[in-house]
């Protein structure tokens, strides 16, 4: 009796890391405090870096190590650190976010994973097996990222949601064997994220603007509908 999959250990490790990324995405869903959320974000990027480095190893594609290194330095360490400072400066570290029912959000997350497996696995039947499951799991990460962006009120949590979404896309891009321009695209994305973070910092964007508080809405929109 063997516990090895028909594709060997290399594939199993790739799948395990991708699965781990989905799991960490779920961890984000139930974080009540912003600081805890930022820690999980660091973990998310760390798992991504491991996964990309593993892809670089099994695909024999050294340029992917650049992407892995960037994920580690930039997304696992630098950005969470910068966001953490912002959280303290804006005095958000004691606040508990209202996330509208963690149970419901988790269920929605599970439904999204089921959906992406259901959608992606049949259509990628002819693709190579690593890419196949990586893409399905990457789509789950993307959709959970969207879910985080939708359910959270705070601008910083939206950035976190967007970054996890982007990590999912990185997973898909690196899982697609031999895809050109991956490094360039991840650099472009990192610039985008840097801009978002700088934007939050410079303009002290605390809340996302479409709150349900009508008075707030009136003030910002100034009756300019």
């Amino acid at each position: 009796m063997t516990f090895m999959s028909p594709h060997g250990l290399a594939f199993d490790i790739a799948h395990m890391l991708a699965g781990l990324l989905v799991l960490v995405s779920f961890m984000m869903l139930y974080q009540l405090r912003l600081l805890a959320l930022l820690h999980v974000l660091g973990l998310h990027a760390f798992v991504l870096a491991l996964s990309v480095a593993w892809q670089a190893h099994i695909q024999d594609a050294p340029h992917l190590y650049i992407t892995a290194g960037m994920a580690l330095a930039f997304k696992a360490i630098l950005i969470p650190w910068a966001l953490r400072r912002m959280v303290f400066q804006m005095g958000l570290h004691r606040e508990i976010e209202t996330v509208g029912g963690i149970g419901i959000t988790m269920l929605a997350g599970i439904a999204l994973v089921a959906l992406s497996l259901q959608v992606m696995l049949p259509v990628t039947a002819n693709a190579d097996p690593v890419a196949r499951e990586d893409i399905a799991l990457a789509l789950s990460v993307v959709l959970i990222g969207l879910l985080i962006m939708v359910t959270r009120q705070n601008a910083i949590s939206q950035v976190v949601g967007f970054m996890s979404l982007e990590n999912g896309i990185n997973l898909a891009a690196t899982g697609a064997r031999g895809m050109p321009l991956v490094v360039e695209i991840t650099v472009a994305f990192s610039i985008l994220i840097a801009f978002i973070v700088v934007g939050v910092f410079l303009f002290r964007i605390r809340e996302r603007f479409d709150t349900i508080d009508i008075s707030e809405l009136d003030r910002v929109r100034g009756g300019q509908m």
Partner: protein
Amino acid sequence: MPDPVTGILLTPIIAAAILVALPGYRLGAALNMLASFAALVFALTLLWDRPPTTQYLLVDDLNIVFVLLNCFVGFTTSSFSASYIGHEIQIGKLSLTNIRFYHAMYQIMLFGMNLALLANNIGLMWVAVELATLTTVMMVGLYRTAEALEAAWKYFILGSVGIALALFGTILVYLAARPVVGEGIDAMIWTNLFHAAPDFDSSLLNIAFVFLLLGYGTKVGLAPLHAWLPDAHAEGPTPISAVLSGLLLNVALYALLRFKVLLAANPNAIAPGPLMIGMGLLSLIFAAFMLYRRRDIKRMFAYSSIEHMGIIVFAFGMAGPLGNFAGLLQMTMHSLTKSGIFFCVGHIAQVKGSQKIADMGGLTASHPVLGWGLVAGMAAIAGLPPFGVFSSEFLVVSSTFVREPVLALLLVFGLLVAFGALLLRVTSVAFGPVIGPVGRVHASYIPMFAHFSLVLMAGIWLPPPLVTWFQHVAALLG
């Protein structure tokens, strides 16, 4: 002389590098115009001097139309921007540092859009669209007011999500192409993809198109993904509203069309038409109703852009030689008319010191040129003859009536609803009692009238070479 493509792409980069260091807004504005004009000249030479296709860049009959339109509106907007910015500096709304930044960003934006249009590589195209998005986000937030920052933030977040989904779609296209075209850069080159598309795995291509439609569709401003568009148009500087409506929406549409051609070439893939028709109709009818309750004039024309993008996407969704032809014509007419309207509205808002519709009235009496200009623009955008939008909308409707009468009825319904809203507004803004300040305006009317007279000319007489060109492109689009 460098070859045209290099010229189109290199001019704005060099100009941006100089503009960022150039003191004084007059000099900056002049250089901005000069660089945009140079890009337009290079774009015109594309008509007879077509560089060979490379791994990264491509010039074909389809993108020449877009590049020319892009460079033309880019140039006229830069000349409108010169007089607009002068006024903003006088009243102290913008500082000189802001202006340097603004001019440099303007050129980088033109570079990004032209690169997206000329890219032969779907990855490069994606990066270019992202660059254009980033620069416009920064320009939307230029005034630093709470409203402008809200608009920029909203645009940023929604645009980024859209662009992320588009990248996921691009990756899926690569996955579909890899088994057929082979690994590496080849499987991202559009010309290769186009030739190999019939052999792609169709189900993978289907899913990819859904992501691309959602992703680039966000940037086109299709309902229900349009939420960023009205804010970004209303709160940014007016020249940026003009290029957003006139150009950036087209660039995203162009990206969508390229992928649509891939899908159409694959016999087993879903027809992209019905999806596009559905979203187009939804955008048209939704935006038409939204036009009624607008109190901000720039916001109103932003909804009108959603409406027109709806019509255009609908026409391309109907496809066929006639549908594509109508879509191309409608797109060209909309770009010219809508940016012309924003030139006019920009000056009006400066005179009145407000963008609120309630603060303006009787413009034809107080400012005849601006007032009648606005009347002409609104008549054109509402689709009245003899303007070009009338002929293109007529073509969309009549070609639809032959094939799908029910859809044509819905289309006409949306058009009429929008027409009513515009008629209602034009009477209060242009006619009736004079409301608000009546000060003199330091405006350059040339860009506005250049646009409107082109639209008028197209409505009366389309040059036969243009017609054959568009027919040829329409056939390419399948």
